[in-house]
Symmetry: C2
DNA sequence: GTCTATAATTTGATAGAC
DNA sequence: GTCTATCAAATTATAGAC
């Protein structure tokens, strides 16, 4: 009773995170659910609508998971560790990179509404990181450190996935928790 | 007199680095050169062949540029700075992310030969970094630090490109040259 | 090396019945 | 909500003439 719309989004997210935006077709989604592609268009009039819905749902879930991980974290170091764990879980629980990491790479080839939603996700990430760091360093340093942490974890997911080696993620992530 | 094959690869590299593997079609490549798609198949029998050729050429050029940047660099710090500059130049000179960063993200949706070539590029990157660091730290640390640097720069390109803000790349990259 | 011609398949999308 | 039916366009790829 999960609802066709949610099931379609589950399938689409899997597809985008594996092969990218253009690797997902309405027909494939329909086949996976045993319905017809015309029915998919009932739930998402255009592919762009599906893309935006995917990013919104992913972002909402990501920050829920992050809040759960960071709930008892007080020090900046603990909060960054919680942030790294959230990314690691996203990688291992689905054996795929971040939805927004994929769409961020494909930015120039996407409908504007989709790449904008991705950008918002990254801006929220940076704001969360700055908020976790700002009390313990200058604004300038918190700004730079936030970009460094987000970039490293996004790159680590891509690298670890391509090389099929989780230790690459862990090695890269270890570098962002040092220096406090 | 650049040769049709090279011109096709120029156009294809531009397309893949912007929108991904599936955003490039033989017809678009042909149109860009004023020829027919059948002629593209003369130069690259299958799309997979084009993909592998692109990665090989990109890798060769990247390491040539890297060697030029690092020619006079002796200390690990200087060599890492040269490495960062090479990535930054790749980003700014084409206003697009790394070819292998894009294809690495799309790994699961690519012909195996293409994702393997991308993996080789990353392995060569890590070997170069380890070689630049190994004399000054343990093998374990050099291994981890190499993954950290490569992941950060790849993620920084993606992030900076999506957010259309080069300062994001610089802020992220600043984090890899500290701590020597 | 490039062309015409063509094939088989896939794509995003719509109209209208049930 | 899902279906049938359909569409125009795009895709990878091949055969064979020039």
């Amino acid at each position: 009773m999960a609802g066709t719309r949610e099931l379609l989004m589950d399938e689409a997210e899997r597809g985008v995170r594996s092969g990218g935006y253009n690797a997902v077709s309405f027909r494939d989604l329909a086949d996976a659910l045993g319905i017809k592609s015309a029915s998919v268009h009932y739930h998402f009039r255009k592919k762009e609508d599906l893309g935006v819905a995917l990013v919104d749902r992913y972002s909402k879930r990501f920050f829920e998971a992050l809040d759960a991980q960071a709930e008892i974290a007080r020090t900046p170091e603990d909060r960054i560790r919680a942030y790294c764990r959230t990314y690691r879980d996203a990688l291992t629980s689905s054996d795929a990179i971040c939805l927004c990491g994929m769409l961020g790479a494909e930015t120039s080839g996407l409908p504007e509404a989709v790449s904008s939603a991705v950008r918002e996700f990254f801006e929220e990430n940076l704001a969360w990181l700055r908020g976790s760091l700002s009390a313990h360093m200058t604004d300038h340093d918190a700004h730079a450190r936030s970009a460094h942490i987000l970039a490293t974890l996004q790159g680590a997911m891509m690298l670890s996935h391509n090389m099929d080696d989780l230790s690459v993620f862990d090695a890269a992530a270890a570098g962002v928790t040092s220096g406090f």
